[in-house]
Amino acid sequence: MTLAEPIGDDPILSVRDLHVGFDSFDGFADVVDGVDLSVGRGEVVTVAGETGCGKSVTMKAILRLLSEPPAQIEGEITFDGTELRSLPKREFDRLKGRRMSLIFQDPMSSLNPTFTVGEQLADTAQFGGRSDTGVLEYVRRRYLGGERAEARERAVEMLREVQMPDPESVMESYPTQLSGGMRQRVLIAQALLNDPDLLIADEIGTALDVTIHDQIMTLLEDLIADHDLSVLMITHNLGVARQVSDRIYVMYGGRIVETAPTAALFDAPKHPYTQGLVASIPRLTGDPMAEGIDGSVPEYLDPPSGCRFHPRCPYAHEACREHRPETIPVGTDAGVECVLYDDRHDAPYDAPTLETTRAQMGTIADQSQTTASELGGD
């Protein structure tokens, strides 16, 4: 169960066979089920998937943001050659503060409303990754000497770099006084302050208006190039994924069902889920929009057997119910977890293309294919 990995021998981040489950009153929720992914140096990688596919849990497991228990995490997470799972907390914090940065989805709740932006940025610049700073040392570095002034200067510079209008006055503002777009810029500045190697961005800009989102994405693209960042991005928006990333992992039901370089993924998506997802996006061409995927995302307490997508898959057959499909390599740099592409079967199945799936799903302009009884819900 190893995906064909396009990345050389030395990825900056590599995740092997990650399992994350949660104990709950209703039983054990098997949320992430054997995820393999890697981010090459200087590569922008996106994990795309809909609500509840496990993408944020994967990210949180990588960054140790899940408390164990209730979470149960297994697998191997390597950052630049260091195994993270066995690393002592203190060293992990240092790594997280200095070399890995994180941008959260919600620009409001990620900033502390009771401190000015300047204080928060300067703290990050001075104490990022130093969870072990003692009180005395904190007071000394915070209030004595020129270190604080230097940190603030760096913060202003960084705000300027993220094209913040009037950075000096933003330094003195509280987060509530800023607009959503400006807060998002503050978060980006904060993430880049310590010059990280790896940036993890969770649904960046999702809460923003289209035109502001556009500005932020353009800015991010520039910054990624300028700082030579490796990026692991998480998004539900395939259009955004296409805009910025080199390679995409598509997640469904806690598993990675397909991975491919961006262009290949959109030219010829292979997994029926990826095809359905792409076909569901409203199109600007004026072509009719496909009617969406039947059914709803799996229950993690009792996930479907075999391929987790099979209850919703128009091409499912017996084999899909019985066991989890293997990952079939496609060329050297892509892979798909679907039996339709497994040519070791006696009679290889006909693999669907995006167009056949589009037709299969029925389009809104063409109602004849939809029968109300078939559709249980979402």
Binding site: E50, T51, P165, S179, G181, M182, D209, V210, T211, I212, H213, D214, Q215, M217, T218, H236, N237, L238, G239, V240, R242, Q243, F266, D267, A268, G276, L277, V278, S280, I281, P282, R283, L284, T285, G286, D287, P288, M289, A290, E291, G292, I293, S296, V297, T353, L354, E355, T363, I364, A365, D366, Q367, T370, A372, L375, G376, G377, D378
Partner: protein
């Protein structure tokens, strides 16, 4: 089909800003500032805009959740701007709303059946008839009787939104105001809901006012599109026209900012022109053209004179000085491809058009 169901004429909604010890009115938030449009029976009109553009306030003012400051709302030939009790009663029978957040618009302590029943109860539908109707409605929204005794927390977002739609159509309204009905949903579910809304429109002869921030969603869905910015409609016309040749710089920016999934679609977008800055506060609307502070084409006239609606080339109505004067050529250059496609589109509605051949690399 050309009977006008809803007409909004120069609608204004100002919210007073009070300050000081005496709470004196010191200014106004002009949430809606002179909006006019009309929707014919059985048609869909899309109202597009970013947050703060006043699009939801328009809907709320129409149904009487806000009282209009100025202008008139005509519903089925009757002036309902300041409705009497009687009129309000009738309007509530005939206009229903579906809101953005499917969860918060359902009572968590009511079963699905009860939620759908309440509007009919209020309207005095007899009990046995109600039960029958609930099953019918669940069927209409592509659910079934199994859902009758479920609570909202047992449902997915898409299912909840279906219940909200069922509830809204339970008393057979003429007009549905859909306020971002799919924004909280995933794309695969969003497509389903849009499909459902189209089916219902055809079956029940519904009229829609569809409010959204997502331009790409209305491309196939709406007959007319109006683009709002800071309380005012900036461009308004047949959806096909607005898409294939957006005239207002703001519509162009909105359209060009949509992240798409194929090269083919990229060619349907106007040239990428990121807007500067952010939407100004509606408390302090810029003089002249209210879009000028973010417009890449700003001229001296824009600062002083507020542009009126013009239809320079017989297309959609546009509020823009620049489009009038000398930039028409520059605006022309972009959606050449779209123009051909739109023509193609007219001949065979829903056909994949000539570009399907090159699409998706298949």
């Amino acid at each position: 089909m050309s009977e006008t169901l809803l007409a909004v004429d120069d609608l204004e909604k100002y919210f007073p800003v009070k300050s000081g010890v005496l709470k004196r009115t010191t200014g106004h938030v002009k949430a809606v500032d002179g909006v006019s449009f009309q929707i014919d029976r059985g048609e869909t009109m899309a109202l597009i805009g970013e947050s703060g553009s006043g699009k939801s306030t328009v809907a709320k003012t129409i149904v009487g959740l806000h009282e209009a400051t100025g202008g008139t709302v005509w519903f089925d030939g009757e002036d309902v701007t300041h409705p009497s009790e009687e009129q309000l009663d009738e309007m509530r029978d005939r206009i229903q709303m579906v809101f953005q957040d499917p969860t918060s618009s359902l009572n968590p302590r009511r079963t699905v059946g009860t939620s759908i029943e309440v509007p009919m109860q209020v309207r005095g539908v007899p009990a046995p008839e109600r039960q029958e109707r609930i099953s019918e409605l669940l069927d209409l929204v592509e659910l079934n009787d199994e859902y009758l005794y479920k609570y909202p927390h047992e449902l997915s977002g898409g299912q909840k939104q279906r219940i909200n739609i069922a509830r809204a159509i339970s008393i057979e309204p003429d007009l549905l105001l859909l306020d971002e009905p799919t924004s909280a949903l995933d794309v695969s579910v969003q497509a389903k809901i849009i499909g459902l809304l189209e089916d219902l429109q055809r079956e029940l002869d519904l009229t829609y006012l569809f409010i959204t921030h997502d331009l790409s969603l209305v491309r196939n869905f709406a007959d007319e599109t109006a683009v709002m910015y800071l309380g005012q409609i900036q461009e308004k016309g047949p959806t096909r026209e607005v898409f294939h040749r957006p005239r207002h710089p703001y519509s162009r920016a909105l359209l060009s900012a949509i992240p798409v999934t194929s090269e083919e679609e990229e060619s349907y977008k106007p040239r990428h022109e990121p807007l500067e800055g952010e939407i100004p506060s509606p408390r302090d609307v810029p003089s002249g053209c209210r879009f000028r502070t973010r417009c890449p084409y700003e001229t001296a006239t824009c600062e002083t004179v507020e542009p009126a609606f013009t239809d320079t080339d017989g297309g959609p109505l546009v509020r823009c000085h620049v489009y009038d004067e000398n930039y028409a050529d520059e605006f022309d250059e972009v959606p050449d491809v779209g123009a051909t496609a739109a023509v193609d589109d007219t001949s065979s509605d829903g056909g994949s058009g000539q570009f399907a051949v090159t699409s998706d690399g298949e």
